[in-house]
């Protein structure tokens, strides 16, 4: 029908190759508020990339700019080698999944999913086949005649997904699609979306403020804050080696202990409470000098609780509260200097008694060393 819509040939929902998305120097503001500042990002073809950040970090705005629903003040968006910065959404041929599903309430499920195909002037036989296959894909066989309001939230979101996939887009954009669903359903749909994406091969950009969701689904994660990229990397790296305090704190629980750099016999070390010393990670060794202050972060599940001191580093603590979480215990303890310290240990181990004195151990190499957010190194 329209030449500008990337064509959907007669085949449908067959493995397609995702397109590369290049975001270059994008800047955008609403009134006086700058929401995206000189933003650069490349999403590889077929990659599942998640924009993770608190509300107001600019992640949804960035997604809308990629999708053509918002035109950026500056910068460009290049998809599959084509500059699409000024192209309206309808000519980009991307699938967009909205948080509130955005299903057309006056159309049946069948008609909702058929809509993008009808718009493209595809024959009705082909539409029927494609819609059936798309509904199959999201496990909604036989619900085509229902109206959206007759479906549960999870089913509605799957219809919305089927509608975004049915025309074989090379790029699918998802804006907190699972935000309003309960936890179990969310995990189920996370897996479904990820399996579909791997099977079909489209490039996916996913927005969420839920770090677990980001970890579970993504090839790479972009942690955003204040309209800029704070860290870009695979989930494990973002979790284990956050590059700044905001990222470390946002992507998971973390225990923070202050440290000072000291010269020891063989090079710089970090001195923390109770006479423990930690080695300086190699990537920081050049930027730190004696006397600098750092923050040492220890994730709760990296800590081993023992009744006797064994090796170092170790900290003595009093157990205040033990809570049972099925596969783990969360142990709230207090260090000798009065700080809180959270430990997560497998529930296959026995939990310490509340009120008892314990020793906290962890692997020195797993310590996250950060330059404090306020101070200069």
């Amino acid at each position: 029908m329209s030449k500008s819509i990337p064509s959907t040939e007669s085949r449908s929902l067959q493995p397609s190759t995702g397109a590369r998305i290049e975001i270059r120097g994008v800047r955008h503001s609403f009134g006086d508020v700058l929401v995206l500042d000189e933003f650069d990002l490349t999403v590889e073809p077929g990659e599942f990339l998640t924009l993770l950040g608190p509300s107001g970090s600019g992640k949804t705005t960035l997604l809308r700019i990629v999708g053509g629903l918002t035109i950026p003040d500056e910068g460009s968006v290049i998809v599959g080698g084509v500059d699409m910065t000024l192209l309206p959404a309808r000519e980009r041929g991307m699938g967009f999944v909205f948080q509130n599903y955005a299903l057309f309430p006056h159309m049946t499920v069948q008609d909702n999913v058929a809509f993008p195909l009808q718009i493209r002037g595809i024959s009705s036989d082909q539409i029927d086949r494609d819609v059936e296959r798309a509904l199959d894909l999201v496990n909604l066989q036989g619900l085509g005649a229902r109206l959206p309001r007759e479906l549960s939230g999870g089913q509605q979101q799957r219809v919305s997904l089927a509608r975004a996939l049915v025309f074989n887009p090379a790029v699918v954009l998802m804006d907190e699609p699972l935000g309003s669903l309960d936890k179990r359903l969310r995990q189920y749909l996370q897996n479904s979306i990820r399996l579909l994406q791997k099977e079909i091969g489209f490039t996916a950009v996913y927005v969420t403020h839920d770090q677990e969701e980001a970890f579970a689904m993504s090839d790479r994660i972009v942690v955003m804050h204040g309209g800029t990229v704070r860290q870009l990397g695979v989930p494990e790296t973002v979790y284990r080696s956050p590059t700044e305090h905001f990222v470390a704190d946002f992507v998971g629980d973390i225990n923070e202990i202050e440290g000072v750099l000291r010269e020891s016999g063989h090079g710089l070390v970090i001195e923390i409470a109770e006479g423990n010393t930690l080695m300086v990670p190699p990537y920081l060794s050049r930027s730190l000098r004696e006397g600098d202050r750092v923050l040492c972060g220890i994730r709760p599940e990296m800590v081993l609780i023992q009744e006797e001191p064994m090796g170092s580093p170790r900290l003595q603590a009093t157990v205040e509260l033990v809570s049972f979480h099925g596969n783990s215990y969360r142990i709230l303890s207090r260090l000798r200097d009065g700080r809180r310290f959270i430990v997560e240990s497998s529930s296959s181990l026995s939990a310490p008694a509340e009120g008892s004195t314990v020793w906290l151990h962890w692997d020195e190499e797993q310590t996250i060393v950060l330059i404090p957010p306020d101070g200069q190194p």
Binding site: G68, L69, A89, R90, F98, H106, A114, P116
Partner: protein, 292 residues
Amino acid sequence: MKKRGWQRRTRRRPHRDSLVGLALLLPCLVVVLLFFAYPLIGVFVRSVSDPAPGISNYVEIFSSRAFRNILRLTVEVSLLTTVGCLVLGFPVAWYITTLEKRRAQLFLVLSTAPLWVAILARLYAWTVILGRRGLINDSLAVMGLVQEPLDLLFNTRAILIGMIHVMLPFMILVLYSSMKGVDESLVESADSLGARPRQTFVRIYLPLISPGLIAGSLLVLIMSMGFFILPAVLGGGGDITIPIYVQTQIRLFKWGIASAMSMILLIVTLALFALLTKVFDPKSVVVGGSRR
């Protein structure tokens, strides 16, 4: 014992709730029965009993060619007013939805401002504007565009102009509220799925606001059908609508004919109501739009 008493009370509650509901409804019910249902029945009874029992009044009305003209004029003017209000009100209402909140409120107040001025004052203002020596004719004459003054007043066109002027604020209010209720992400969604603006408008936007279109049209249509004062002031000698005709019959003490005419107006209005709701049924619009 105590517990039983409590249980009994909760079990009885639905019954008590319906009693409370009835009590709340009662004042309104009394007013409606006393001042609406009773007179309506009275009008009906009179239409088949005055001056003599039977349907002679209806026979007389339907056999008269003049009456058919009156009926046609009434329906035509009302339908044209409705269409006119839709055509003029739609863009205004839509424009207001695109404004930010404070400006939108200002525009809504402005577009409904005519409602604050007494209807007679507004109608006589139109006679000043449209008259043979009125604002328009004088301006045209000064500019040398016309030799003879145009006949703008005291005809069907003048009724239409006045009618649209009076009804437009209602249409704008109803359309605005239904347009404001449209979830913007639905329009964006259609956009992202590849629909051009015209397709989004016809297949998504119109069906979504169709309840407002129906409600606004019905409101304007029904009010127009029964409007007396406006055709009386702006219309010419030949522009007799049903309400005007009823009033003339009453002046002649022909209560039976006047009552029969009122019943006919009521029935025609209800028939148009039914027809419009059927034609513009949201579901039929949808099916027509999305199935081939």
